[in-house]
């Protein structure tokens, strides 16, 4: 066979070329005089915020140039961040999630501890908890508090005379009314290309309700004492997804619709409820600013109408890799981001979708309806962090499992048990005790 050696030679050449590219990447990646390279994810929200911060900073410091380097989101992005940290090829700064995803980066070995920096004093304790490992603090917040719940079509609610539901049963009754009216799909789900992650919201955004029923849930879960399958309040998220799918409340094209198309469907009134993070508001504003006034938000409802609270996410942060040999300029930029000038720059250049995590920062009066509704949960103190900020244990296959539940391939009980198996790997990988 003539092709075999040829192909090997070609593969060798390709590998060599890749190796060379990495080497050259190294030499340009770090300390160019006066240039700060920052790796960020390619979402609209992060791009807007970081561009606003970069513009404001370079205006005050004309000798500094900031270059934003884009990477994909999701697990592919996690992979890139881990690989680049591990190979010492990370730019001067990078933007990444706080919470369990940060813990998986082994921050004590890859990131610079910022606890001793004076600018960290302005960062609120809530955010610090999300970037803490032991006594060390690793990140500076960029962006706003995020809520996980249901984005809904205000016009459809008005037309059908519906009330914002505070219990799951009321939510299902609303879905029934929407289905009977026949104009729109009650619940939007989007399992299309690179959008499978959107299927997790029914579980992840239910954490307030889980904690309301089981206050020790997060600790017991981390210690391998409680699991999704044997904790009814936690398994409820999987069951809710199954109920919605089985009742025929999903949009017909849920299997192929993408996240962006799902938001467009919500804005166009083709679907009424879309379980989602409030970061989606930035995406809506970027594509169709006027649609933002027609979108409302409520927390994923549980069982107790008097205790209808919101599961919240911390925004991502900027981190300083230990591979940065000249951290001075990067530290100066971090100090700017952690100041009121930093959040004013974000307010000026990007849409404000929630409160900041820096002392002294204010949110403008005039915000879209969904942001105002989000704010009421914070004002009433009815918020709890998502599980990923209370426990480092998060399984990587949740999005595929929830797609299966939503598509009717797997039952809720089976899915909860399968996810418990999936998180075990992560816990063992992190070397947690009791697994």
């Amino acid at each position: 066979m003539l092709t075999t050696p040829l192909r090997r030679a070609a593969a060798g050449a390709a590998a060599l070329a890749a190796g060379l590219a990495t080497l050259t990447g190294c030499s340009t990646g770090g300390g160019d005089e006066g240039t700060l390279n920052i790796l960020i994810d390619n979402s609209e929200a992060t791009g807007q915020l970081m561009q606003a911060l970069a513009d404001a900073y370079t205006e005050a410091h004309p000798d500094v140039e900031i270059e934003l380097e884009l990477r994909p989101g999701g697990s592919e992005g996690d992979n890139i961040v881990k690989t680049r940290l591990q190979t010492g090829d990370m730019p001067d700064l990078f933007f990444y999630n706080s919470g369990s995803l940060l813990q998986a980066l082994a921050p004590d070995q890859t990131l610079v501890d910022l606890a001793g920096e004076s600018y960290m004093d302005a960062v609120t304790d809530t955010f610090k908890d999300g970037v803490r490992a032991g006594d060390a603090l690793y990140g500076v917040p960029v962006g706003h508090a995020v809520g996980g719940g249901v984005l809904y079509d205000l016009a459809a609610y008005e037309e059908l005379g519906l009330e914002v539901p505070t219990t799951w049963d009321a939510f299902m009754a609303n879905n029934r009314a929407i289905l009977d009216a026949g104009n729109a799909a009650p619940v939007i789900q989007t399992y299309g290309t690179e959008s499978a992650w959107t299927s997790q919201l029914f579980i992840l955004a239910d954490n307030y309700n889980v904690l309301a029923a089981e206050p020790d849930w997060a600790e017991a879960y981390t210690a391998n004492e409680a699991h999704f399958a044997d904790t009814p309040a936690a398994a409820a998220g999987f069951e809710h997804l199954q109920e919605v799918a089985e009742a025929g409340y999903l949009n017909e094209d849920f299997a192929s619709l993408t996240y962006a198309e799902g938001l467009a469907a919500l804005a166009a009134g083709e679907g009424v409820h879309y379980p989602m993070l409030t970061t989606a508001l930035t995406e809506i504003e970027a594509t169709d600013p006027e649609a933002l006034d027609g979108v409302g938000f409520f927390a994923l409802p549980g069982t107790d109408p008097a205790n209808a609270g919101l599961t919240t996410w911390l925004p991502g942060g900027l981190y300083l890799p230990q591979s940065n040999e000249d951290p001075g300029p990067a530290q100066d930029f971090l100090a700017f981001v952690a100041s009121t000038e930093g959040c004013d720059a974000q307010t000026a250049g990007a849409s404000v979708i929630g409160p900041y995590f820096i002392d002294g920062c204010t949110v403008p009066e005039d915000v879209p309806p969904a942001v105002a509704q989000l704010q009421t949960y914070f004002d009433a103190g009815l918020t709890a962090p998502a599980l990923e900020f209370l426990s480092p244990v998060k399984g990587p296959a949740l999005e595929q499992i929830t797609v299966e539940v939503g598509s009717g391939i797997r039952s809720a009980a089976d899915a909860a048990a399968l996810y418990d198996e999936d998180v075990k790997k992560q816990a063992q990988q992190l070397g947690l005790e009791g697994w």
Binding site: N79, T193, S256
Partner: protein, 303 residues
């Protein structure tokens, strides 16, 4: 990923009484040997080692066979294994049948033969990911060209890539579309190499066209068939790029193959576990292909 290269075919050794002396001085082989060692042998050996460790950002910890136990207890791995075989056999079988038929057709006296040959070969030249993305758009259940065309003649097309029962088959068909050109090319070379005298003699004996195909072309194409089967089965068993570009193993886990399960473990940061998966895939492909290759080639020699 571990390279799943085949070991050297055994017949090379049996022919060994030809001159053992090499035609070149030893240093001549050094550059190639060094490249081969650094890029293939060292990573392969290293991956065998890492398969026995829990490997994360902070280093490696030797954990024996735990990764293999975990890999085989992956609930979706079994599904992935079944899918791998279905995918490998389906694509390989179709490439053999279609490739042979196309080759017989394209070696007959037809108009624009050269053009038609290049058209059949063309998809092989296109990037796999490009093909995957293109077909993802074409096969979209609502707006895709395929279902719109079906709708025009009154058929409601299925969700090719979103129906759990269909997704893997759809990807396999795209793989065949892309890969059949290479199979055809190999078969064309095989058909052309058959001496015309056989056909003339058969004609004198009054053999029909079908009999000539059945008793002359097919048996004499055996070497070509062996090559096509080996190439396409290896390709099918370790296929990843097309599946990842089209479904990412979805919906859920329904179109996962061993290679995509391994890739997901790697993405999740379970590097030791995914190394173990690669070792398993390597052994699996080798265990299947070495006997197959040996058998197909022995038959060839006997003839």
């Amino acid at each position: 990923m571990t390279t799943t290269a085949l070991p050297a075919p055994p017949r090379e050794r049996r022919r060994g009484h030809r001159s053992h002396r090499s035609h070149y001085p030893l240093w001549f082989y050094l550059p190639a040997g060094a490249v081969y060692g650094v890029l293939f042998i060292v990573p392969t050996v290293a991956s065998f080692y890492f398969a026995f460790t829990r490997w994360n950002m902070s280093g490696t910890e030797f954990i024996g066979l735990e990764n293999f136990a975990l890999f085989f207890s992956e609930p979706y791995l079994f599904q992935g294994l079944v899918n791998t075989f279905v995918y490998g056999l389906l694509t390989s079988g179709l490439k053999v049948v279609l490739g042979m038929l196309l080759a017989v057709f394209l070696t007959s006296q037809i108009i624009a033969r050269g053009y038609l040959r290049s058209v059949v070969f063309f998809p092989t030249l296109v990037s796999t990911v490009g093909v995957g993305i293109t077909f993802t758009v074409l096969l979209d259940p609502g707006d895709g060209l395929v279902n719109q065309a079906l709708a025009a003649v009154g058929i409601a097309g299925p969700g090719w890539l979103t129906d759990p029962d269909l997704a893997l088959i759809s990807v396999a068909f795209v793989d065949v579309w892309k890969g059949v050109g290479l199979a055809t090319l190999i078969y064309i070379a095989g058909v052309v190499a058959i001496p015309q005298e056989y056909f003339e003699a058969a004609e004198v004996d009054g053999a029909s066209g079908f009999q000539r195909l059945r008793h002359i072309t097919l048996p004499l194409l055996r070497p070509a068939t062996a090559t096509v089967i080996v190439l396409s089965l290896i390709g099918g068993l370790r296929s990843f790029d097309l599946i990842w570009a089209m479904t990412q193993g979805g919906p859920g886990f329904t179109s996962d193959v061993v290679a995509s399960v391994i890739f997901k473990q790697y993405q999740a940061g379970f590097w030791g576990l995914s190394s173990a998966g690669n070792v398993v895939l390597f052994l699996l492909v080798a265990a299947l292909m070495v006997p197959l290759y040996w058998k197909l080639n022995r038959k060839e020699v006997e003839r």
